[in-house]
């Protein structure tokens, strides 16, 4: 089947599609729209930022979102609208944001500039994440020349733009399709089921197929690993896999819920969880990356999983045979090994509601605050009643081959009074829980020390001591 998408109000149909061909290469070398740049080909610099739109739930408008075209595969565009920098000044005049950036020194070498324009244009037209602080909207766009000042000033000056999406909306309606997609390209096959049931069937028939959710990881297998992927299943069109449900019992996220979309619910659940989600990648990555993909790929760091484990999350897996539910921690068996059977897929994750006595703290430590991967991520859920820790859940990422609980530390906390002595004991116990590696993100010694200090951070914070460099202003005495 063809891949169809809307470009500047017109439907584009691609009959023969390499399912591992990137949107960036297509835009640059086939469409000749060279304003979109390749800076890194791994989703970390934002020079390739484009906006991708889908009809909103009511069908009345378009939800635009900024994504990194360098790690979007072409089938992921199917049924969507695409906007590149060339879409903005189509009539030959700069839009107000572009004009402002051109006037105020927002570009020097100019290579990253189209990516910034798209991120900020998205913000101005109300794209997903537009209500975030502007530094966060552009955290996934790197500029090496300007120091960002003029770009931030331009964003402030032009924070709202009206965009006429009527033609795009009408064109999207013409390509709306409930039928499963898919195709063949040489020896490469791809499927794009539309329901969980259909997905289960595809996986039963092709248990070796590579599932592609947001491609923020698998994309790099192709652009950097130069791997050949033979059979791919794209999950973006599976409609019943992206639900976000908030109930008094807790939060339930479908596996395909994108991090940008779960951010608000997570922040309502607990501010630390919201902040952790905010710091996963840049907005472009969170606009693609899914909570299910982040769990399923089994990274030893796992942006979300350490927190989810501490919060008692449960994972539901599904196959043609049915469903099974397990504690999230049990899913991570060993480095690169997860408890996912042939034909199974991650369907949802559930986080039970917090009790009134639950004290939650989540900290991510990395070289850079935004758009970085943790050296250590620590998450704590302590149930404190009358000054006694009735129950303790402690989990870490970056400390072992998988994200996992710190059982000795938990034991040292449980049943004890919430005092300095207890924290000191738990910090000492933590040493026995992990034998971290020294790697590019930090030494074993640093990981041990910082992990233990996160217990102290939790303690001091609970006592009202300022523990975050983000709370401080210049001139504070």
């Amino acid at each position: 089947m063809a891949v169809r998408f809307v470009l500047d109000g017109t439907v584009v149909q691609l009959d023969e599609v390499d399912p591992t061909g990137t949107v960036l290469d297509y835009v640059r070398y086939r469409l000749g729209r060279t304003g979109t740049k390749e800076g890194c080909a791994e989703g970390d610099c934002g020079a390739c930022t484009v906006l991708v739109g889908e009809r909103n739930a009511q069908g009345t408008g378009i939800d635009w979102r900024a994504v990194n075209a360098c790690i979007q595969f072409l089938p992921m565009l199917d049924g969507k609208a695409l906007m590149t920098v060339e879409s903005l000044a189509a009539a030959g005049t700069l839009n107000p944001l572009q004009a402002c950036m051109a006037q105020n020194g927002s570009s020097q070498c100019g290579f990253c500039t189209p990516g910034f324009v798209l991120s900020l244009h998205g913000r101005a037209i109300g794209a997903i994440g537009h209500d975030l602080p502007v530094e966060d909207v552009i955290a996934g766009n790197l500029c090496r020349c300007t120091g960002y000042g003029p770009i931030l000033a331009a964003a402030e000056a032009v924070d709202t733009l009206v965009q006429d999406d009527r033609a795009t909306l009408a064109a999207l309606a013409t390509i709306a399709d409930d039928r499963a997609g898919g195709g063949q390209y040489g020896t490469r096959r791809w499927f794009a089921p539309r329901s969980c049931e259909a997905l289960a069937v595809v996986l039963a028939e092709h248990p070796d197929a590579r599932m592609v959710a947001g491609a923020t990881d698998v994309g790099l297998w192709v652009t950097k690993g130069l791997r050949e992927l033979d059979t791919l299943v794209f999950l973006g069109g599976v409609r019943d896999l992206a639900a976000i449900v908030e109930t008094p019992d807790g939060l339930r996220f479908g596996a395909m819920a994108r991090y940008a979309d779960v951010h608000e619910a997570c922040a309502r659940f607990h501010p630390d969880l919201g902040e952790l989600v905010r710091r996963i990648g840049g907005l472009q990555v969170r606009n693609s990356g899914t909570i299910g993909g982040n769990i399923a790929n089994g990274s030893p760091i796992g942006d979300g999983p350490p927190a989810l484990i501490a919060l008692d999350a449960e994972l539901t897996l599904r196959s043609r045979e049915g469903r099974r539910t397990l504690p999230l921690e049990a899913y991570f068996l060993d480095y690169g090994k997860q408890d996912r059977r042939p034909g199974e897929f991650v369907e949802s994750v559930h986080i039970p509601a917090l009790g009134p006595d639950d004290l939650v703290h989540i900290s991510k430590l990395s070289r850079r605050f935004d758009s970085d991967i943790s050296a250590v991520c620590g998450a704590f859920k302590l149930t404190v009643r009358d000054g006694v820790i009735a129950r303790a859940r402690v989990a870490f990422g970056g400390m072992a081959a998988t994200p996992r609980r710190a059982l000795a530390c938990e034991q040292a906390l449980a049943g004890q009074r919430f005092t300095e002595t207890t924290i000191a004991g738990a910090a000492a116990a933590l040493r026995a829980d992990f034998t971290p590696l020294s790697d590019v993100r930090g030494s074993a010694g640093y990981r041990h020390e910082a992990a233990a200090n996160l217990l102290w951070r939790l303690f001091h914070k609970a006592r009202g001591t300022a523990v975050s460099v983000h709370e401080v202003e210049p001139g504070d005495g």
């Binding site: 791994e42 570009s107 100019g110 790197l142 070289r367 935004d370 910082a450």
Partner: protein
């Protein structure tokens, strides 16, 4: 931010940048028969190549040709100076990532895939990878250099106070957003045309010519713009341009080398990492009496520009301070790592950070505000000769420091910081004011020359060309403004054209912050020559004295007559007046004897100062830069908007060098931080929310173009204030400890936590 003073004009390409219409090398339409290239890379840091089986590479889908060193018709050399950088390895490999062979295929992906299929057998040789290993093996590129004045040993022995110390600072990847790229096209009769993302088209031209055994006249190199460079495309671009030219020459097809980001980071040089050791003698007021300083730099496997870079480190080891009896030793360590190269500041930042650290150490030992120590040591009357024997004639550092101290309310804020630290157990603040004095000129004297070509057309429009390249720094618009001002026409009448070796020959790299100084002056001279001819013509035509001819925004006035510039040009053309001229400029007064490291290497100095306020978390080592206030000297600004941009951008790049940007190599000499996933340049949120920049209100004492000063590199070193503020914050974890915290750069969370532990334990 203070209002920029006029003239402030946007970058000439700004409207093209924001609309995606600015064309970079990879944006030019590809001919159908274009070949795409990739290198096979060495997996070993140091080894003999025993066998290289390329059969699988040749047989891979899409591969058209595979080349090795044996296929090079001329010199297998892509080095700037020493002749020691091979395009393709011959018998040995000397660093991981070194190119072994070159694949030409029908797509970039096909070339990259094929390049991984080689079977290479190596016989490993002993590899020297780290500063320690190189020091203990005395693995040196050239003899250790010595710059000295007075008698440091005697003065040290006699000094009432004495300290010694050591610290490390890391390297830095350029992380230009546009990676290395070149396109070569074969021309008729053996000629080659290369479009290269290079700061040094003439060098690329010469290297390609030697590689292909052609005269320089048969090779043309062109660059309209680069997507960032920062020194990383001064010598490093030649590797890719030479590869593309080789394939174009051998196959007769156009060839493009667009280097993958990770390969780029592995294969190209970076800022030198340094180890610094010092022994300093001083008096009770903190005034330095004697200093012995050892600067040890990891240069990598070949010379590249390491001699000049390390010289510049020595030149800046005084910064703004008078060192009466001093010895600066500079070790140029040869290691089996990618050859380090030019990067904004060119060794200056490393030398300057070294002396700032010494000052900080003295302040810690005396329990004084480091700013007092800085002022006590500042150059001044009778204390104005540098370690290389140059008398400083333009010293404004003390005035800049005092003005910034007042405007940024340094003293009040320092008191607030002390109060904050007294009240906070976990978080600690630091504040620091550091100055910059940066020498302007290539220290290799002959490089201080430039040429320009100006055409005035009969319709009054003007086209300019010069040897400088545009990498985003705004050189083109500055030069266009200079030329427009000569004729008093709007700058829109001036068309800036791509830098090409067939228009202006024998150019120097656009480097050393010299672009506007040199090319602006050369273009000014060319324009003045045309204006003089026009003046004579007008005076003749309208029978008035030449003194009565004025070029004004309202037109050209000749006595009682006023005519538009376009009308004049038309008349001049009909009057058979030559409306094209070349201009040439060579910086005067400079003279330097490298054998003894004495002389006047710099025409003038650019100055500046910054105050940074930071906060650290003593539990995790995290930090934030809270506030930055800058006062910087650009002489009389050629373009305030461009200059503000250079200052702010350089500062954040310097902040990145000293904080988040960490290069990690493993024990096999492999770079682990070879992508933006692991190598972290600052993002928007790393910029201090309070960030002010003011320009020093003064003009260059030297007759530079419009009395302006160079701006590309000097503000990079304003970020030293961030590192020194972080040092103060770490010191606050043990406020009564009279030593300097052992903080190395970059100040990652891990480095800060280590420094806290070291300081508390001291």
């Amino acid at each position: 931010m203070a209002e920029p003073a006029p003239p402030a004009r946007p970058h000439d390409s700004a409207h093209l940048h924001v609309s995606g219409a600015a064309r970079y090398c990879d944006d030019l339409a590809e001919p159908a028969d274009m070949l795409h290239l990739a290198f096979g890379q060495s997996a070993e840091a140091h080894a003999r190549i025993v066998a290289m089986d390329l059969a699988a590479v040749r047989a891979a889908p899409g591969v058209v040709a595979v080349f090795t060193a044996a296929d090079i018709p001329g010199a297998n050399d892509v080095s700037p100076v020493a002749g020691d950088d091979r395009l393709l390895a011959e018998t040995d490999v000397i660093h991981v990532g070194q190119p072994l062979f070159l694949v030409a295929a029908t797509s970039q992906l096909a070339a990259r895939k094929a390049a991984r299929l080689a079977r290479v057998a190596y016989a490993p040789l002993p590899a020297v990878l780290t500063v320690e290993q190189a020091q203990s093996a005395q693995s040196l590129l050239e003899p250790t250099q010595r710059m000295a004045q007075g008698d440091p040993d005697t003065a040290l022995a006699a000094a009432p106070c004495r300290l010694s110390g050591r610290f490390d600072m890391g390297g830095q990847d350029h992380f230009y957003l546009e990676g290395q790229i070149a396109v070569a096209r074969p021309g008729e009769d053996g000629q080659i045309h290369v479009i290269s993302s290079t700061q040094h088209p003439s060098e690329v031209q010469h290297l390609v010519a030697h590689l292909l055994a052609l005269p320089s006249a048969d090779v043309t190199v062109e660059v309209r713009r680069m997507g960032g460079a920062f020194g990383g495309k001064e010598t490093q671009a030649a590797l890719f341009a030479a590869a593309a030219a080789l394939v174009a020459a051998k196959t007769g097809r156009p060839a493009k080398f667009r280097c993958d980001r990770d390969d780029d980071m592995v294969m190209t040089g970076k800022r030198h990492d340094f180890r610094v050791a010092y022994d300093v003698g001083f008096d009770g007021a903190g005034r330095i009496l004697a200093l012995k300083l050892l600067l040890s730099a990891r240069c990598g496997a070949t010379f590249d520009l390491s001699a000049g870079i390390n010289d510049r480190a020595m030149f800046h080891a005084d910064n703004c301070y008078f060192l009466p009896d001093v010895e600066i030793l500079s070790e140029r360590l040869k290691t089996n790592t990618v050859s380090n190269t030019a990067f904004r500041g060119f060794g200056g930042p490393q030398g300057m950070l070294a002396i700032e650290r010494v000052i900080e150490h003295i302040a810690c030992a005396l329990g004084r505000d480091p700013l007092d120590i800085r002022l006590a040591n500042a150059y001044g009357p009778g204390r104005d000769v540098t370690p290389y024997g140059m008398t400083i004639e333009d010293n404004i550092a003390p005035q800049i420091i005092e003005r910034l101290r007042r405007d940024a309310q340094y003293d009040a804020r320092r008191a607030q910081v002390l109060a904050f630290n007294a009240q906070n157990r976990v978080l600690k603040k630091g504040i620091a004011l550091t100055p910059v004095k940066f020498g302007i000129s290539f220290t290799t004297t002959h490089l201080n020359q430039a040429g320009a070509l100006v055409h005035v057309y009969a319709d009054g429009s003007i086209q300019i060309n010069h040897g400088g390249t545009e990498m985003g720094q705004g050189l083109y618009i500055k030069v266009a403004q200079v030329v427009a001002a000569v004729f008093a026409v709007p700058v829109e009448h001036v068309r800036i054209t791509a830098t090409r070796t067939d228009k202006v020959p024998n150019t120097s790299a656009t480097a050393a912050s010299s672009g506007a100084d040199l090319n602006g002056m050369a273009a000014h001279r060319a324009a003045m020559e045309i204006r003089d001819r026009l003046t004579a013509f007008v005076a003749r035509t309208y029978a008035c004295a030449a003194e009565k001819v004025h070029f004004t925004p309202g037109g050209v006035v000749a006595g009682d007559t006023t005519l538009s510039f376009a009308t004049l040009c038309r008349k001049a053309y009909l009057g058979r007046i030559q409306l094209s001229a070349t201009g040439f400029y060579a910086t005067p007064e400079i003279d330097y004897d490298r054998a003894v490291h004495k002389g006047r290497p710099f025409y003038y100095f650019a100055y500046g100062a910054a105050v940074s306020e930071v906060v650290i978390d003593t539990l995790t080592g995290e930090h934030r830069v809270l506030a930055v206030d800058i006062l910087h000297d650009v002489g009389r600004s050629l373009n305030a908007q461009i200059d503000f941009g250079q200052i702010e951008g350089a500062f954040l790049q310097g902040q990145g060098w000293l904080t988040t940007e960490e290069l990690v190599f493993d024990d096999k000499g492999r770079l682990l931080t070879h992508s933006p996933a692991t190598y972290k340049i600052p993002t928007a949120s790393d910029r201090a929310r309070h960030f002010t920049i003011a320009l020093w209100d003064g003009e260059n004492v030297k007759p530079t173009i419009h009395r302006s000063k160079a701006v590309g590199e000097p503000p990079f070193m304003l970020a030293n204030s961030v590192f020194m503020a972080l040092t103060r914050a770490v010191a606050a974890t043990a406020p009564h400890c009279r030593t300097i915290p052992p903080l190395d750069a970059p100040a990652t969370p891990e480095a800060i936590l280590r420094a806290i532990a070291g300081h508390r334990g001291a």
